[in-house]
Structures are given as structure tokens and as C-alpha cells.
């Protein structure tokens, strides 16, 4: 009897739920073409076009021959696609005495960027790790000085550094430039790594100490494997920054070892002869290609590293 009563009771309860009342029910309907969406996507579209248009003009121009460019239709697609400007920009364009195009500058930039990136990240990550986890005496002062360094304009330091490099005997060499890039990357990279390592739970570090790992043991076996995203962020920042650098490249090197940016400037700004817009466009695109490729390959990790904060153990 009691059981039957119980079943009756649940049936009644279910029945009362199945009777739906008037009015809104279930998921809220979403209109695709609401006023809000139109404004939102409209703005995004306009802004996107604004930023993409120059790139479009560059690509289109670089694929045209000079007679077609002289017609003056900047936005029209090329009638006759030609890759000649690209080849010329890479291999035969003249800058000063050399007529082997941007290829020389490209390899110079590679030889500058790779050691600078590796050196600066290696030093800055250890700096950040020491500042975050081993609070040595004077750590705060050291950190403050380092951060202040990030706010001093480069131009102020240009000439003193020329003297320092000259005294060291590496003025006008790749080594000198690599050293300058590494030093100037230090403030921001150290800050980046310090903040990342601070977000790693302190207990992990304590556990490793109880387990007998030392300064380098914890760095290589615990911290490094956990920090791939932040290393990618640092790498992107440094590759982009050093590759795009013009100022240090032009001041601290000599024509034989000019980086790609300086060479590009020399091609574009040469005043003799005809202005070859298509070659200039191709050369500029070639120069910008490396940071772009780096970003597209590792962009996802970049975002993850920037957003990192919650490292779950």
C-alpha cells in the first residue's frame, strides 16, 4: 500500500511538470541580423579592410610590370602577373657597391637574430627564475634597476655604446650587434619570465628543494619543462624585435654585414635611376615575411603564454 502510494505521488509530480505554461520557454532565441550584430560586424569589417588594404596594394603592385604601374591604377589587380620584381629584389637589386639583392641582408639578419634571440632568452629566463624563486639579497633593487632600463630611450645610449664596443674591439662586427641586442632585450624579457615563474605554485618549488634539487636542477628539470608557452612568447617578441630593428643595425655594423632592414632602406631610398615600385614592394614583403611566418606558426602558443597564469599541478 505504501509503495503504491509513493508511485502515485511521483506520477502526480511528473504530471504537473509536463503541463507547460504560456510565455518564454527553453533556450532564448538569437537573431543573426540584430542591430547589435550589424554594428559589431560592420565595424570589424571596416577596420579589417582599413588594415588589409595597404597589404593588398603592396602584393598587387609587386606582381605588376613597370609599364602597368605607370598607368596609375593602384587598386586594380595585375593584368599580367610577373614574378620578376621578386627575383630582382632577392638576387640582383643594387645597394651601394653590392648588386646581389636582399639575399645578403637576409643571411646577415639570420646570423644576427638567431644568436641574439638564444642568448637573450637564455640569460633572461635564468634572471627571471632567480628573481622569482630565489629571493637573494638586493633582488628588489636589481629588478628595479633592470626595469628602469626599459624606459631609457635608445638614442641616449647610442654613442656611449659605440665607445664601449670600440674599446672592446667589436665595433662594426656581428658579435657587437648581437651583444647590443641581447642587452637591450634584457629588461622586458626578465620581467616577462619573472612574472611567469612567480605564477608557478611556490609549493612546487619547495617540494623540489626537499627532493634535493639545486638551483640548476630545479631550473632545468622543473621550471623549464613547464614554461614552453612563455619561451615561445619571448621568442616571438625577440625575433620580431631584432629582425625589424633598423637603428642598431645601421649604427653598429658596416655595409658588408648590414641586416635586411638596412638594406631594404638602401634599395627603396636609392635616388639614382628609375623608382622601381614593384621591386620595392617585393623587397618590403620579403623583409616582413620572417616575423609573419614566426607568428603564424606559433601564434596559438603566443596567446596561451600571454594568458598564462593558472598553471595547474
Amino acid at each position: 500500500m505504501a509503495e503504491a502510494g509513493l508511485i502515485d505521488h511521483t506520477d502526480a509530480a511528473a504530471g504537473s511538470h509536463s503541463r507547460a505554461l504560456e510565455g518564454p520557454r527553453g533556450a532564448r532565441p538569437r537573431r543573426v541580423l540584430s542591430r547589435r550584430n550589424i554594428i559589431l560586424y560592420g565595424t570589424l569589417f571596416v577596420v579589417a579592410v582599413y588594415y588589409l588594404l595597404p597589404l593588398y596594394v603592396m602584393i598587387v603592385t609587386s606582381l605588376k610590370g613597370m609599364p602597368e604601374i605607370r598607368l596609375g591604377n593602384v587598386f586594380s589587380p595585375p593584368v599580367e602577373i610577373t614574378f620578376e620584381p621578386w627575383v630582382k629584389a632577392w638576387a640582383t637589386a643594387c645597394t651601394g657597391l653590392n648588386c646581389d639583392g636582399l639575399s645578403r641582408g637576409f643571411w646577415n639578419s639570420v646570423r644576427i637574430t638567431i644568436p641574439s634571440v638564444v642568448l637573450s632568452i637564455a640569460i633572461a629566463s635564468v634572471n627571471g627564475y632567480a628573481l622569482a624563486n630565489w629571493r637573494f639579497k638586493g633582488a628588489n633593487l636589481f629588478f628595479t634597476i633592470l626595469i628602469v632600463g626599459a624606459f631609457i630611450p635608445y638614442q641616449v645610449m647610442l654613442y656611449p655604446i659605440v665607445i664601449i664596443l670600440r674599446e672592446m674591439g667589436i665595433y662594426g662586427t656581428l658579435t657587437g650587434l648581437v651583444l647590443v641586442h641581447s642587452v637591450f632585450g634584457m629588461p622586458i624579457l626578465t620581467l616577462l619570465f619573472r612574472n611567469y615563474f612567480t605564477s608557478v605554485p611556490e609549493e612546487l618549488f619547495k617540494a623540489a628543494r626537499v627532493d634535493g634539487a639545486g638551483f640548476w636542477g630545479i631550473y632545468f628539470k622543473i621550471m623549464l619543462p613547464m614554461s614552453l608557452p612563455i619561451f615561445v612568447v619571448a621568442m616571438i617578441l625577440q625575433v620580431t624585435g631584432i629582425w625589424n630593428d633598423f637603428l642598431f643595425g645601421v649604427v653598429y655594423t658596416k655595409p658588408d654585414i648590414y641586416p635586411m632592414t638596412v638594406q631594404l632602406n638602401n634599395i627603396v631610398n636609392s635616388v639614382q635611376g628609375v623608382k622601381e615600385y614593384n621591386v620595392n614592394m617585393a623587397a618590403t614583403l620579403l623583409t616582413g615575411l620572417v616575423p609573419l611566418v614566426v607568428y603564424f606558426v606559433s601564434g596559438k602558443l603566443f596567446v596561451r603564454g600571454i594568458a598564462a597564469g593558472a598553471v595547474k599541478g
Binding site: P201, E203, L204, K206, A207, A208, R209, V210, D211, G212, A213, G217, K221, I222, P225, M226, V311, K312, G313
Partner: protein, 362 residues
């Protein structure tokens, strides 16, 4: 022979004194719980013993060695943390082996010790997994295993169960107790803010407040004879009733609060005997009985029920005794409602009386 001994320990961060002149001796094989609310310095003390914090003054001995200046790895300790602190990129096996590899223990010895720890903690099927693939309880088991394989004399637990849900916490609590029985001669120091963990696990409890130990005694003494008002109020849930009044000791000692008079001739005064003056009278809710059960109690009174909190097994009743708040516990099935007048009674011998000024037990 003391296994861990802390002598005149001072710790300051700049001007802030966190621990002051702290002394503590822990016997070999003892289970000591450091209990206190957050910010009382209990975890700090544990970190000092582990060597993770440099102390300002004093000495620390572990197994008769002065380890005051030793690195954590050389102190012969294993430590378990609240957040597990497992190395996320290593497998469970790698986590267990990490400390042994650093100590250059031979490979087959590492295997042997991991196998033993895994068997003891029932984590054999998990050895090849990464920490992210484990549940909270499993992670904490691995963390305990990491301390276990180090084959040390002293285990330090820093709130190891606080991140787990209530059911798992109870399970793992029993397992830690079992582990302590199995590992004879292993000293365990356990930090917690959970008094149930403290009462169930400890051989002795050290109750800490503001960087000082308030009372260091076995759980029964802490519960029955709290050394001061803070300890009495901290231990016990629901917490003890406090009634302010005066102590009169003309002939037989009597506690007076307004119209309420409690005969204290059965109360065991400590030290110098009853000292007349303002006092606080404390009686635990579970030591107050109602109706028929109250008949035989030496002290009886009528109270009015104010609030009733049913908790299933028993019910907590908030009542007024001549204007003073009085909480007591009755069987969960007792029908009571607001406004009822009931008879309650208790034995003053089970009470605790504290000096109103010094807050010390009389």
C-alpha cells in the same frame, strides 16, 4: 630521545615577528598536530623545520643533529603539501623517483622503494600516468608516496587534506593514521586548521595562536582541561558556552552570574585553588543534558528555547538561561520548538573556569 627539537626559535620578516621564542620537543614515532586558525604561524613553523625558511634565531635538531643551517634535502625529512605540488610534466613514477635520482640512489634500489611505496598507498596502477590524469585523492596519495620513498625519519604534512572534499578527507585521514602505525618510529608533524583531523590523528596537539604555542597536550586533555579561554573556544564544535560572572570563595566556591548560581565544590581547581573575582565560566554543549537526563545532574535550571538547529544525528538548541545564551545538544529526534521551556542540567566538574583578566584556567 627527541626526534625533532625546536629551541628558542625566532622568526621575523623585517619588523614583523612571526614566531617568538618557540620551544617544542617531539618524541620519536610521535604524531604531533600543529593546530590553529589561519595566520597563527603553524605552516611557518613547519617550513622552518623543513629548512624552507631561514630562521632569525634559535636552533633546530632533527634526530639529535643540529640542522639549523642544513639544506632541506639534508635534514632527513619528507614533506607533503596542500596543493600536492606534483611535478606536472613527470609521470607518477618520475615524481616518486625525482628525489632519489637527485640523491644518486642506485637504479634497482629506486625501483624497490617505489614498488614498496606504491603497494603501501595502493597507487600501483597509476605509476605510468601524469598528475593531470589523477583525481585529487590519488594526487595526494602520490604526494605522500614521494615523501615515503625518501625513507626518512620525519614526515611533515602541510594541510594535506584541505583541498579534498569531505568524504575523501575522511578516507585519507584514516589512511594517514594507518600509515603512521605501519611505519613505526616515524615521527609525523601535521599542520591543520581542522580540529577533527587534529583530535583523531594526534598523539599530542599543539594549539598555536599569534606565533606562540597555547597548549601542548594529548587530545583528551586539550578537550577536557583547556589551558586558557582561547583553547577552550577553539576546540569543540559546536563551540563551548561562555558565561561571564564572578567567583565567590567564602566557604564553598560558587559561580554567580546574575540570578544564576553554580556550586563549584565538585570542580577541580588547578594550582592555588579558587581565586575570587571576575571569571568566565565555560561548559560544552554536549555536557548539558535535558529533561529526564538532567534530573541527576548537580546543577539544574529552566531555560527557554530560542533557536533549534537539527543536524540529523543530533540537534543543537540555542536557549536563554536567565538572559545568558546557552547552547546544548540533544538527540536528533527530540521534538522542540521556539518558546518551549525545558529543564536542563550539567555537572560543574566538567566545566572550565577562566580568570576574566588573564584568561587562564583556574
Amino acid at each position: 630521545m627527541a626526534s625533532v627539537s625546536v629551541r628558542n626559535l625566532d622568526l621575523s620578516f623585517g619588523d614583523v615577528k612571526v614566531l617568538q621564542n618557540l620551544n617544542l620537543d617531539i618524541e620519536k614515532g610521535e604524531f604531533l598536530v600543529l593546530l590553529g586558525s589561519s595566520g597563527c604561524g603553524k605552516s611557518t613553523l613547519l617550513n622552518c623545520i623543513a629548512g624552507l625558511l631561514d630562521i632569525t634565531d634559535g636552533q633546530i635538531f632533527i634526530s639529535e643533529h643540529n640542522v639549523t643551517w642544513e639544506q632541506p634535502k639534508d635534514r632527513g625529512i619528507g614533506m607533503v603539501f596542500q596543493s600536492y605540488a606534483l611535478y606536472p610534466q613527470m609521470t607518477v613514477e618520475g615524481n616518486l623517483a625525482f628525489g632519489l635520482k637527485n640523491a644518486r640512489v642506485p637504479r634497482d634500489e629506486i625501483k624497490k622503494r617505489i614498488a614498496r611505496a606504491a603497494q603501501l598507498l595502493h597507487i600501483e596502477p597509476l605509476l605510468k600516468r601524469k598528475p593531470a590524469q589523477l583525481s585529487g585523492g590519488q594526487r595526494q596519495r602520490v604526494a605522500i608516496g614521494r615523501a615515503l620513498v625518501r625513507d626518512v625519519d620525519v614526515f611533515l604534512f602541510d594541510e594535506p587534506l584541505s583541498n579534498l572534499d569531505a568524504k575523501l578527507r575522511a578516507e585519507l585521514r584514516v589512511e594517514i593514521k594507518r600509515l603512521h602505525h605501519e611505519l613505526e618510529n616515524t615521527t609525523m608533524i601535521y599542520v591543520t586548521h581542522d580540529q577533527i583531523e587534529a583530535m583523531t590523528l594526534a598523539d599530542r596537539i599543539a594549539i598555536m595562536r599569534a606565533g606562540a604555542i597555547q597548549q601542548l597536550a594529548d587530545p583528551a586533555t586539550i578537550y577536557n582541561k583547556p589551558y586558557n579561554k582561547y583553547v577552550a573556544g577553539f576546540i569543540g564544535s559546536p563551540s563551548i558556552n561562555f558565561i561571564d560572572g564572578t567567583l565567590e570563595a567564602a566557604s564553598d566556591p560558587v559561580f554567580k552570574a546574575g540570578e544564576t548560581k553554580v556550586d563549584l565544590s565538585r570542580y577541580a581547581f588547578s594550582g592555588n585553588g579558587p581565586k575570587p573575582g571576575p571569571v568566565t565560566f565555560g561548559i560544552r554543549p554536549e555536557h548539558i543534558f535535558m529533561d529526564k537526563a538532567a534530573v541527576d545532574e548537580p546543577f539544574r535550571a529552566n531555560v527557554e528555547v530560542d533557536v533549534v538547529e537539527p543536524m540529523g544525528a543530533d540537534t543543537l538548541v540555542w536557549s536563554k538561561l536567565n538572559g545568558h545564551e546557552l547552547r546544548f545538544r540533544v538527540d536528533g529526534q527530540t521534538p522542540l520548538k521556539k518558546g518551549d521551556r525545558v529543564k536542563v542540567g550539567f555537572d560543574p566538574a566538567r566545566a572550565s573556569i577562566f580568570d576574566a583578566e588573564t584568561e587562564m584556567r583556574l
